[in-house]
């Protein structure tokens, strides 16, 4: 039954062209990250060539080419920004539509006149979100690999492996927001309120919590590499304890380690960063299963 609900939802998303819109947007973002990476590579090479000429006229020795200082996967560093900004909002929308459409169209009432348990219904919706997000991220992985091939002419097995792990982590992170989208539909009475509350949660996770725990200003969240403030201030002495649970920060930190663009650390430490994200996904899934049991689908038409 879970599979039937999931495949039905995937079909609905395909027919509404939501799937195509999500895929197109995220692939455009991945391609943009690739173009920016390529542009960065070209700029460094051209600036270096000019700098060598200028330094030669002044008799100074040319420093080593800075391109060698850049890790190969840093070309795709912008994806670490686009996933929490664009990807998370799209995932939120995916989760929202999965349940809200059934409410507004009255399908919710019809479905439960059949022998379908509420648990299998919500699990089917979660499975649909998982499959759709996985398909989109696999496509993004391929676009990223092609971008690397174009710029670097080659891609090592190790780099491809790192990319695969990065996109797996991104999938987990996006699942978190798909579940937020679903839960918000189940806890609010109006569709618009559900969408705006979910966006409120996204704003808090992406911008507000990092400011509380690490003193990161909102625009710092647009930077792939973040440097948290020290804990000398009394305020941060207290809030820094919560930094480990700030999922947006932990996602960026773990991505930096996976893509080899940040100071390396042990696998155990990186895994520890992923745990809060995985934990939150499990908690939200359990919450959705619990809430849907009490959700009244019969009021859907009046409170659309």
């Amino acid at each position: 039954m879970i599979l039937t609900i999931a495949s039905n939802q995937i079909l609905a998303l395909r027919r509404q062209t939501v799937f195509l819109a999500l895929l197109g947007t995220l692939l455009a973002m991945t391609a943009l990250a690739g173009v920016l990476g390529w542009s960065s590579h070209q700029t460094i090479v051209r600036v270096y060539d000019q700098a060598v000429k200028i330094l030669a006229t002044t008799g100074k020795p040319a420093p080593p080419n800075p391109i060698t200082l850049k890790p190969t996967l840093s070309l795709l560093l912008n994806m670490v920004v686009y996933i929490p900004l664009v990807g998370a909002l799209l995932a939120l929308l995916l989760g929202h539509l999965s349940i809200a459409d059934d409410e507004t169209s009255g399908i919710g009432r019809l479905v439960f006149s059949r022998q379908i348990t509420r648990t299998s219904y919500v699990l089917g919706k979660i499975a649909c979100a998982a499959v759709v997000l996985m398909a989109i991220l696999v496509a993004s992985l391929l676009v990223s690999a092609v971008s690397l091939l174009i710029v670097n002419r080659t891609i090592s097995v190790s780099d491809f492996g790192r990319l695969t792990i990065f996109y797996s982590l991104s999938w987990l992170y996006l699942m978190l927001f798909a579940l937020v989208g679903m839960v918000m539909v189940l806890v609010t009475r109006r569709r618009s309120l559900a969408l705006l509350s979910a966006i409120g949660v996204w704003l808090v996770i992406t911008f507000v919590i990092p400011q509380f725990t690490s003193g990161l200003r909102p625009t710092s969240s647009l930077n792939p590499i973040t440097s948290p403030v020290g804990t000398s201030q009394k305020f941060f002495k207290v809030t820094a304890y919560a930094r480990d649970y700030s999922v947006a920060e932990q996602y960026k930190e773990a991505s930096g380690r996976i893509l080899n663009t940040a100071t390396s650390e042990s696998i155990g430490q990186t895994l520890q960063r992923v745990l809060p994200i995985a934990g939150l996904v499990i908690i939200l899934a359990l919450l959705a299963i619990r809430i849907i049991r009490k959700h009244d689908f019969s009021r859907s038409v009046n409170n659309e």
Partner: protein, 328 residues
Amino acid sequence: MNSSIKRIVTIARHEYRAAVRSKILVVLLGILIVVTTVSVYIASVDYASQLADYQLYRTSALANGLTRIAPSPLAPMSLLRGAMEYLEIIGAVIAITLGYLTVSRERANRTLPLIRTRPVTSGELATGSLLGALGVIGTLVAITAVVGVLCVGIIGHDWINATQGLKLFLAYLAAIMYMGVFYCIGAIATAKSKVAATGLMIALGIWLIVVLVLPQIGDTLDADNQIPGGLFKALTLDRAGETEVLKHFTTYENIRTWTEEASLAKHFERFAFAMTDVKERYRPFSLPKLLGQTRNDIGWMVVYSIAAYTALRRSFKRQPTIPQGGTL
């Protein structure tokens, strides 16, 4: 009072009252006020300690008979940087929500056909709604401004003077203008969509591109930002060398500049940062010179505002009065 103005004022008052009754708006406002307070508090605590160090230096220098004492390098208004950034990001979402609610409320309550049976033109409806929304936005911005100034004074131990107050007023006026444009985007997108929620999604998509993606691309394309620590520093080039190299990158720099120019958020940010002393290079300038330096940003904000208002009037004129398809 002219009857047309009277109708506009009535619609504006209705818009204001309806908006402050919305639960979701109150929640978003709450979030904005809390984060503004925290951001100014965090900056103020650090500032207070720097100010204490400076006062200590000043007292000791005076006690030792020194007559030439270095002026304080601290700028109290720069503590409001975080508050401005929150207005730029969360403020824009609040404005879009306001615009969305303006249209969806009348549709859901089935009051739009009723209003249009009265002698109210679509232009009056658009102007009245915008003025009401600007009233709500003005109230919200005033609350965050008072919270910000009080935090700087009480926690940072430095009260802003009259000139600084005027500059701050202009920065917050720009914030109202900036949010007004996003209000129009939210209302236009919702008015043009059969299902209001789709309009909200489109408006949020525009917000994402204008506020987050375009400025981020502009920053990423900066030649010096290509490697950590700065590309020119890694190449041991001084300022003259950097200028010489950049002569060969005029097209590239033009693309980068125009990418940033396309973002209203970037213009608001530049203007607000110049007015609140965030950027050190603007600190020595008098207000007229500051306005001259930021005339490009002011011009863009005015152009965007006029375009948004014109589009709002057009979309209200073409909006079907009878519900088409979904209502929310």
